[in-house]
């Protein structure tokens, strides 16, 4: 059995300009700690406060969506998240993915594609409409605003992907350019 090739991994991170990467079961406290590290990193890189807040906001919405989905779906391993933050071509990119049921993944794909077709003015309208909708009784959070908020903060259409896996599951991910 060979030891993991950390140098190889590091080179890959460097080549892809990845400044933060996490893969594993995500908890509330991990979201906070990684978020804290992200904020400190951006401060030390002297990112503008607005860019730093946008990156942090998208990171929080993506990871909390995964946590809520894992609880609501009761799907095994759904709380194992992959999170990557990178900086390339003058933009920060925040990506996150997890295992979902294929039908849930398809609904998310459709939602994200529909939002990607809207301009900023239309997105604001959809956002305000969603904000006005009464909350579903059993909903603990979400408020249905997360994906719209992410689309509003993105400087390019959000890129969704769904890779079909066994047992009716799939790996769903979103990649967001700030």
């Amino acid at each position: 059995m060979s030891a993991p090739d950390l140098f190889d991994l590091r080179e890959r991170f460097d080549n892809e300009k990845i400044l933060l990467c996490f893969n594993g079961p995500i908890s509330r406290s991990l979201i906070e700690e990684i978020g804290n590290a992200l904020r400190n990193y951006m401060k030390s890189e002297q990112a503008s406060p607005a860019a730093a807040l946008d990156v942090f906001a998208v990171y929080i919405e993506l990871t909390q969506n995964i946590r809520h989905y894992a609880v609501a779906s009761q799907l095994l391993d759904a709380d194992t998240a992959t999170v990557v933050v990178s900086y390339r071509d003058g933009h920060y990119h925040v990506s996150a993915g997890n295992i979902v049921r294929q039908e849930d993944g398809q609904i998310l794909m459709d939602k994200v594609v529909a939002l990607a077709a809207l301009d900023k003015v239309e997105l604001k309208k959809v956002y305000k409409e969603q904000l006005r909708k009464p909350r579903e009784a059993e909903a603990t959070s979400g408020a249905g605003l997360g994906l719209i908020d992410i689309a509003r903060k993105a400087s390019a259409p959000v890129v969704p992907s769904l890779k079909l896996l066994d047992n009716g599951t799939g790996y769903f991910s979103l990649s967001v350019q700030i």
Binding site: R28, D54, Q64, D149
Partner: protein
């Protein structure tokens, strides 16, 4: 009525109320996983204050980042204040922010659009 004094955490703001002066004060970041649960005490306090008397109410905010579920809760609170303002209640919101971070002002502006009471967004150097 019993006032609130909730200390801040990394993901939740400081919350203090003063029922004698009619003031709610909030400061910090707000991104709890379950915002509705976290804010239930504050929502109950606001409802009860507005029901118990006719006095003015002031909301002093120094909030920085709000996740979308916190935004939803804040909108619900502002809606309730708006309802009472429509019936003649004196309501004021003062939202202070660091001028270096225009995102906070933009967030506050979007709330303000839906409120007809005094909503002051105050940039600080």
């Amino acid at each position: 009525m019993k006032d609130l004094k909730i200390v801040s955490t990394q993901s939740t703001p400081l919350i203090e109320t003063d029922s004698h002066r009619g003031v709610v004060y909030m400061e910090g970041d707000s991104y709890p996983e379950n915002s509705f649960e976290f804010y239930s005490e504050l929502v109950a306090w606001v409802t009860s204050y507005l029901k118990d008397n006719e006095r003015p109410m002031t909301v002093e905010l120094a909030l920085l980042y709000l996740n979308t579920s916190s935004i939803k809760v804040m909108m619900d609170i502002f809606d309730e204040l708006e309802e009472h303002h429509q019936k003649g209640r004196d309501i004021t919101v003062n939202w202070r922010y660091d001028v270096d971070n225009e995102r906070v002002a933009e967030l506050a502006e979007e709330f303000k659009e839906d409120c007809s009471f005094a909503f002051n967004i105050i940039g600080q150097e």
